[in-house]
Symmetry: C2
Subunit: 568 residues, 2 copies
Amino acid sequence: MAKRVVIIGAVALGPKVACRLRRLDSEAVITMIDRDNLISYGGCGIPYYVGGDINDLEDLYSTTSHAIRDKAFFADCKRVNILTEMEVVAIDRKARRLQVRDLKNGEKGNISYDILVLATGANPARIPVPGTDLPGVFTVANLHQAEKIKNLMKAGKVGRAVVVGAGAIGVEIAEAFTDLWGVETTLVEKEGKVLPMMLGKNISRIVTRQLEEHGVRVLLNEQVERIAQDPETGALAVSTGCENIPCDLVVLATGVRPSSELAAAAGLSIGSNGGILVDNRLRTSDPNIYAGGDCAEYTHLVSGDKTIMPLGSLANRQGRIIGTNIAGGSSHFRGVVGTFCMKVFDLGVATAGLSVEKAREAGYDPVAAVVAQADHAHFYPNSELIYMILVADRRSRKVLGVQATGKNGNAVKARVDSVAVLLEHGIGVDDICGLETGYAPPFSSAMDVVNNVGNVLDNILSGRNRPVDVLEFFTMFSEEKTRVLDIRGDREAAAGREKYGSRWLHIPQAELRQRITEIPRDELLSILCDTGPRAYETQVLLDSLGITNTQIVQAGYAMIKVIDPDFV
Amino acid sequence: MAKRVVIIGAVALGPKVACRLRRLDSEAVITMIDRDNLISYGGCGIPYYVGGDINDLEDLYSTTSHAIRDKAFFADCKRVNILTEMEVVAIDRKARRLQVRDLKNGEKGNISYDILVLATGANPARIPVPGTDLPGVFTVANLHQAEKIKNLMKAGKVGRAVVVGAGAIGVEIAEAFTDLWGVETTLVEKEGKVLPMMLGKNISRIVTRQLEEHGVRVLLNEQVERIAQDPETGALAVSTGCENIPCDLVVLATGVRPSSELAAAAGLSIGSNGGILVDNRLRTSDPNIYAGGDCAEYTHLVSGDKTIMPLGSLANRQGRIIGTNIAGGSSHFRGVVGTFCMKVFDLGVATAGLSVEKAREAGYDPVAAVVAQADHAHFYPNSELIYMILVADRRSRKVLGVQATGKNGNAVKARVDSVAVLLEHGIGVDDICGLETGYAPPFSSAMDVVNNVGNVLDNILSGRNRPVDVLEFFTMFSEEKTRVLDIRGDREAAAGREKYGSRWLHIPQAELRQRITEIPRDELLSILCDTGPRAYETQVLLDSLGITNTQIVQAGYAMIKVIDPDFV
């Protein structure tokens, strides 16, 4: 008899399971159930729909060949039955039967399965403060919400907006509001940095500046205490401990939680992150039930901890694996290293593995190198800087994570991806120094930024390069704990000398040995060049001359400029 | 006593060794010798200098902070002695002494060393035909030649040029001549495809078309027999077996040979490619002599064979390793997988590992998947296709190589690099299916092209996907060995139906099951869709209905269009 396969959830993982399975098993009876009437859409496209890069909602649920992925499409092209606006009330695992309720008419029924797939996704994590249910307060959990928000924008009803939560979705929505609609947008984040889960402080600061430069007001370390509505005017106001922000629309983007209630009620094992636990074939604790995508949790292959990772790309790849396994194949999912990328206005941002902060939490002793280097050969025109961070464990030299940003987003992604795919193999810093990526002057440097970030980290770990990161340097300098030794040319150093006088010592690199007596030995010097390499060379030279009380400003003036252009 | 380190060759590897060593050892006496007066330059920039992307020759030997890398720079900033226009005549290994000759005045002398580094690079491989020494016949081996060529261009003296050899340099030079200078350029290649050493036939064809579309005349399978000059007019002519091509300038770009004569004369071991043999610390057969860069040969980590790999990026990374080892460290170079990228007019081209042809030569049984897919989510605007090929061994499923091209060069590089860095780890096709690269709609697809090329290859290896590549399809179709089953929409299929009549069967995918009786069972059908996925789905459906005499046109119409737009 043909296998009855039922899939709960028809957005990303579900359709992929169905299509893969259909191609492997022409007999199986495949049924996919969803509460919504819109299915099989690219949820990651929502911010771009709201922001106008995508005009038509249909684009998000069309194929590359412009077919609408609706019930008829799945029936005709995939031979998959779709039940929309249908809720699964309970799973009877013993009887292998689902209790369902038709949301259109309230009718109840049962659906039997041989194999069940849970593709229930995730729900927005609502913050427990008053007012989140007011009209004008949204999440961006599905296309209906996205459409409502866009219609308000189109109608010119939104002059000011508050986005709560500076994770990826919050940042993307803030960009969408500001960029196309010119909405005065405030982004409120309870942590001390934007994209707190994925970025360390340096790259996060660059992203914050990018948001601010494009008119987004970024409030960090502030928690929303309530959202209120003026009963007369209908105007909203978001209150944090510090201020009251009037606005016309609020988007809550405070993360998501795995939708695992149905699984939990059926007695399936749930992990500490609230996600369904699965084995490396993506089976739950019941071998007849698979789960994947946003509703499950996975092993982080660097930290070793379980984690959630709500990403459409992951759901698609896992869907293929589940489809293969249901059809009798043997396909495995080892876990994740957390590779991610995004666009923030003119910047590409990419990350994989652990930031310094997350590495410390995971029990490592992390050391980071920060570099700024052109995306291609410096002699080839139109280069853009890439800011890149590599994190490794001090003792084992194992690479733990990588982050980068820059205006050439594809080039940023290239560097991070080439490290990301190696993370699970437990590579060391030397592997990054020697990484064999493609070289041609229009696309990379002979010693590319990805190799150089390895070289710098190697030098730091070997004790040859003693760095200070720019944020730390700012603090030390403002507390008068260090002077600057600027080794750039006269023109580059002029502003610092003028602003800070004797605290900004200037000796061009080529004159260092002749003017060595001018260098004070009794105080900590922060050596500054354009991006770092010459400062390193200078530190090495000064060391050899017995002047060792120095530190290198990591990524040099390029980093200062992008984080705080007013500093000098 | 301070170590005396002498480096022969001061272009890429040499300066890197010197600078790295200086930073690790402030005492060493470092001397670098070169025949030329220009040193430490980016030779890979020569085609872009000739083509006008780089205006000033100095840019190729300046640092990122615009310092000229000349003798004074190396003396002041690096404490490295440079002897230019000095030739090393012989190495006396026993006495650790070099015989040298000053090219300015012919004076001879000796230089002693404790450690010697051979960074002698490579020489153009001149073809053994008459006329290669005529005026107007150039190689692009150094900056002087580049300058001469550019001056001729600037003076308007070149209307027609012939470039012999369609390797990377030949292709780049052909682009430079055509793009900026509007020179009528013919590119002559003795093999049957451009970039024959690095590309398989499909991607190579795309590059050929790109060259032709931009006005380069490409002659394949033609060997130059002689170059002649009209004694009256001074005009040149390049003769192949087939024709006589009149021109004003000839560039010979027929590959390079390691400059290993000095090493060979000193009795060092030389490999079968003519390169100096080195161990994984980059030491020659004499432990006091290191070698790296273009003059040595290396293990290809996929084929296992020795190979040469003349690339500035490799030389730089190897230079760092040699510097470390001379200073008493322990740094290793395992070998190469042949990662390479380049720009060809509007295209980026990237490759790593082995093509099908090279894999077969290396004793594998290679199978390839060919896909065409947008560089980012199809619903996000302004996507460009990436054409990508993945090669694996049939039995072991080990990934052997990858190639890609497309107009978004950085995106092409990102995909190839993320596979390239894994090649030496002996990964399988499943690892590519699951590759965790960054996803966001502006930069990638939820099921990205790099995962999809793995998926397709997995399906082929499992026998579920029976493909034909487009070039083979062209042959079979012209020989009437196959009919087309076009499953696209009416509009897309119209041209084929009109041109080929009943040989171009058209049934849209959604109508297939209803119209199954129209499908002939007695002849081989080539299933065609836009890029391949729907053709695969169709093949699977037809298989389940007992119609198995089918093959999928790999990468579909997208591949047909880019290889031969006149086909339909």
